[in-house]
């Protein structure tokens, strides 16, 4: 008999709810699909209540595990391994998804939320498409519920229960990381919607403008969550890992970047389907790949097949289970695609130099970039399997492959929106970019004057300036800002146009940040005794003292450093070392002074045993722009999502208005 300090029955209730969700998912997968094939409305109508019931079951399971974490019920194995009664509440909650089993539960919970959203707000969809999409959602849920029930049960009990638990990995005990995984998962799992709609459309054999309009809000929502999630993760790595770096090309980071690249391509190609009824097969393929990459992102890395800091599971059985699931979903979807895609009706024609052509180029660039990242991520695995040695693929590889692809793409991003559909006037478009060209030259000259030197960073700065000016100029040109009534025209501009300008401008700002910190970062390491000081980038840092303090579940060594410039005090920095006695782990807390244009970043290292401390400082020009830019991009997604035409359920309203208008016409 399990003897816990929590409610004895609640974890069992959670386990039961999970099993129930499995049964419901099976029904939701089979009956509506059968109904759609036989054109049986009653069977199809089962999809909606089933999706709701599935959400209810999974929320009960999620709540049960959450309760076990909050009350520290160490009779539940996952809680005992990943939580501790001394942990603050927020990290006991975050502990739920800081481990393999719990993160799976979060994953299926978000999947169920999306499914229920289609059921609740998808009344505008043709019943057959809705039934089939929900059935595909259920098929995805089914696989992962089976994985949980048979190989990763989050409710497994320990008997006897240990008096206290191990601890959530201290490096994860950070407010930023409490919200990073749910945000990222909202993005990963949101791409399942595009996947389900794509499979449903393939079975139906029909992809049209309306389909693209239905898929767009879901893809956009997933994309913006993914953008924000990657942004949070990079920011977290920046201030926690103590190296002043914000991207390490770690497999897990790559795993979030690849679906982002493909989802970005999908957003753009869906526009072509919607406006011009072309690129249908390619768009379907991207929808499959985007979710495929996010499955790889969540699970391949977690399976322990690729080594990473973030790997949870080291159990080969789990790895195998995951591989089989990946093969079924991605392989099955691609097979269906190969079989059904030729039946899709080909769409409208366009000249190579046109908006469509530009979007095709955008897609080719993004797909190629995703492929190089995939190759770099899998290459060590390939060599290892072939017995050719153990290697690591790091930043030099990506600098040599990913950058030469992304920079031209960013440069072309300024031109694409200026081209017209079907056949474009390229010289005309370029002549409208004269101002952007001037800004690019000025930005590069300014960077050269400030920092001098190497050509690549100057090119990147020029591209960023070009894109930023081009994006703003496009909107300004469309609104004719220099003529009367510009304010009204700007206000009446479709939200999706604002969204695009924000997203492209945000990208430009992020490029500025990445270039600045990658090219002109300065580092200074010193061994300082209290009272001594060092200098970096015109700042003087003076180590005042090093003292001890206590945190809720850790001991603190805190330095007090005065940062000054030209004799004036700028800031007091207090970098910390934290020692977590339960897991005997030390973490570093950087102290950052940000001016908005640049960061001064300080960390304290080990004592030298003779009264001195290793102190390390970084000067990172433009680095805040990375996260500001990424958040602007995500905000662009939000703005575009609020566009009347694309709001979830909007096509139904348009249809309703038409019916009323028609009714009126008939009455008159």
């Amino acid at each position: 008999m399990a003897a816990g300090r929590g409610e004895p029955m609640i974890p069992e209730l959670g386990h039961f709810a999970l099993a129930l969700a499995f049964v419901v998912a099976f029904l939701q997968m089979t009956l509506p699909m059968l109904g759609a094939a036989r054109n049986d409305g009653r069977l199809m109508a089962l999809a909606k209540p089933a999706a709701m019931a599935q959400l209810l079951c999974i929320l009960v399971a999620f709540g049960a595990l959450m309760q076990a974490f909050i009350v520290s019920d160490f009779s539940v194995a996952v809680v005992a391994r990943n939580s501790n009664s001394a942990q603050p509440l927020i990290y006991r909650i975050a502990g739920l998804w800081g481990n393999h089993e719990g993160s799976l539960l979060l994953w299926v919970a978000i999947l169920a939320i999306y499914g229920a959203a289609v059921a609740a707000f998808g009344d505008n969809l043709p019943p057959r498409l809705q039934a089939r999409s929900l059935a595909v959602q259920a098929a995805i849920a089914l696989g992962f519920l089976a994985f949980m029930l048979f190989a990763s049960n989050p409710f497994a009990r320990l008997d006897p229960a240990p008096p206290d638990g191990a601890e959530l990995n201290p490096i994860l005990q950070d407010p930023g990381l409490a919200f990073h995984p749910p945000m990222l998962y909202l993005g990963y799992v949101g791409l399942s919607m595009a996947f389900s709609f794509a499979i449903a459309a393939l079975i139906e054999g029909r992809v049209d403008a309306a389909w693209a309009r239905w898929v767009r809000p879901w893809t956009l929502a997933a994309w913006l969550c993914l953008t924000a999630g990657i942004c949070f993760g990079s920011r977290w790595a920046y201030y926690t890992l103590g190296w002043g770096g914000w991207w390490f090309w770690d497999p897990v980071e790559n795993a979030s970047l690849m679906p982002w690249l493909v989802a970005t391509a999908l957003l753009h190609s869906a526009i072509v389907v919607e406006k011009r009824d072309a690129l249908k097969g390619w768009t379907i393929l991207l929808a499959i790949l985007a979710f495929g990459f996010s499955l790889i992102g969540t699970f391949l890395v977690r399976s322990g097949i690729i080594t990473s800091v973030h790997a949870f599971a080291n159990d080969p059985l789990r790895g195998l289970f995951i591989l089989v699931l990946l093969a079924i979903y991605i392989g099955g979807a691609l097979a269906l695609f190969a079989w059904r895609a030729p039946y899709l009706k080909p769409g409208g024609l366009f000249a190579p130099l046109s908006r469509e052509g530009a979007l095709v180029i955008n897609n080719l660039f993004l797909a190629t970039a995703a492929a190089t990242v995939l190759l770099g991520t899998l290459y060590p695995l390939i060599l290892d399997v072939l017995g050719l040695g153990t290697v690591s693929v790091g930043a030099p590889y990506y600098n040599a492959t990913f950058m030469p692809i992304m920079l031209p793409l960013a440069a072309l991003t300024a031109i694409g929106p200026l081209l017209s559909w079907k056949r474009a006037d390229v010289p005309g478009a370029l002549s409208r970019l004269k101002f952007a060209g001037a800004v690019a030259a000025a930005a590069a000259l300014l960077a050269w004057w400030l920092e001098g030197g190497r050509p690549l960073p100057l090119i990147a700065i020029a591209v960023a300036g070009w894109l930023l000016a081009g994006a703003i100029g496009e909107l300004a040109g469309r609104a004719r800002v220099f003529e009367a009534g510009a304010l009204g025209r700007l206000r009446r501009m479709p939200r999706s146009a604002w969204g695009m300008t924000l997203a492209h401008g945000g990208l430009a700002i992020a490029i500025l940040g990445m270039t600045g910190s990658a090219a002109w970062k300065q580092e200074d390491i010193r061994d300082l005794k209290p009272g001594e000081s060092g200098t970096i980038a015109g700042y003087v840092y003076h180590l005042d003292s090093v003292g001890a303090a206590e945190g809720p579940n850790y001991h603190v060594t805190r330095a007090r450093i005065t940062l000054s410039r030209d004799g004036d005090m700028v800031a007091i920095l207090e970098p910390e070392k934290r020692f977590y006695p339960v897991s005997e782990t030390t973490t570093t807390e950087a102290a950052i002074h940000s001016t908005g244009l640049s960061d001064v970043y300080g960390v304290i290292g080990e004592p030298d045993g003779k009264g001195g401390w290793a102190v390390r400082f970084y000067y990172e020009p433009l680095v805040p722009f990375i996260w500001i830019g990424a958040l602007i991009m995500a905000f662009g997604g939000v703005v575009s999502l609020s566009d009347r035409r694309y709001r979830i359920g909007a096509p139904r309203r348009a249809h309703a208005t038409r019916t009323i208008a028609a009714g009126k016409g008939a009455a008159e």
Binding site: N169, I171, L241, G242, T307, V309, N314, P346, L349, F350, A351, P352, V360, I361, L364, F365, T368, A371, T372, L375, G376, Y379, G389, T390, V391, S392, V393, G394, P396, Y397, A400, T401, P404, I405, I525, R526, D527, K577, S583, E584, T585, T586, T587, T588, V603, G605, E606, D608, G609, K610, G612, A614, R616
Partner: protein, 148 residues
Amino acid sequence: MTRKRRRMLVVLVGLAMLGSATALVLNALQGSLAFFFGPSEVVANHQLPSHFRLGGLVEKGSLVRDADGLTVHFRITDLKNALPVTYRGVLPDLFREGQGVVVEGGLEPDGTFLATTVLAKHDEKYMPPEVAAALKKAGEWRPAAGSQ
């Protein structure tokens, strides 16, 4: 432009991009891979790349700090052979004697490994898999010492 010609054009542009990406990738893989070796492999192998990764356990009692407070010397062992390592900088939080570590850098003429990066970012319970493999190769792998 007919549909066929348009498709041809897209395919051609796609192939050209794939070709240049492949060229970039191959070029990058030539120069930027860091191979991994254990101490016994380094001792046995006389044709080492100028830049590689070395992994094993930090030998107990081998950590020495120079008078400048920043330069450290320690030895990396697979319990059969050991190599001296020099590193100037701040050691990562999880660096500890007796624990697994991976360093990146190159061999000096005197046989010392000069590290530019020290990686010990794995948590306590977890041995870097490369290190576990190196220990296995040297025949000194004990699961009890490694994985837990």
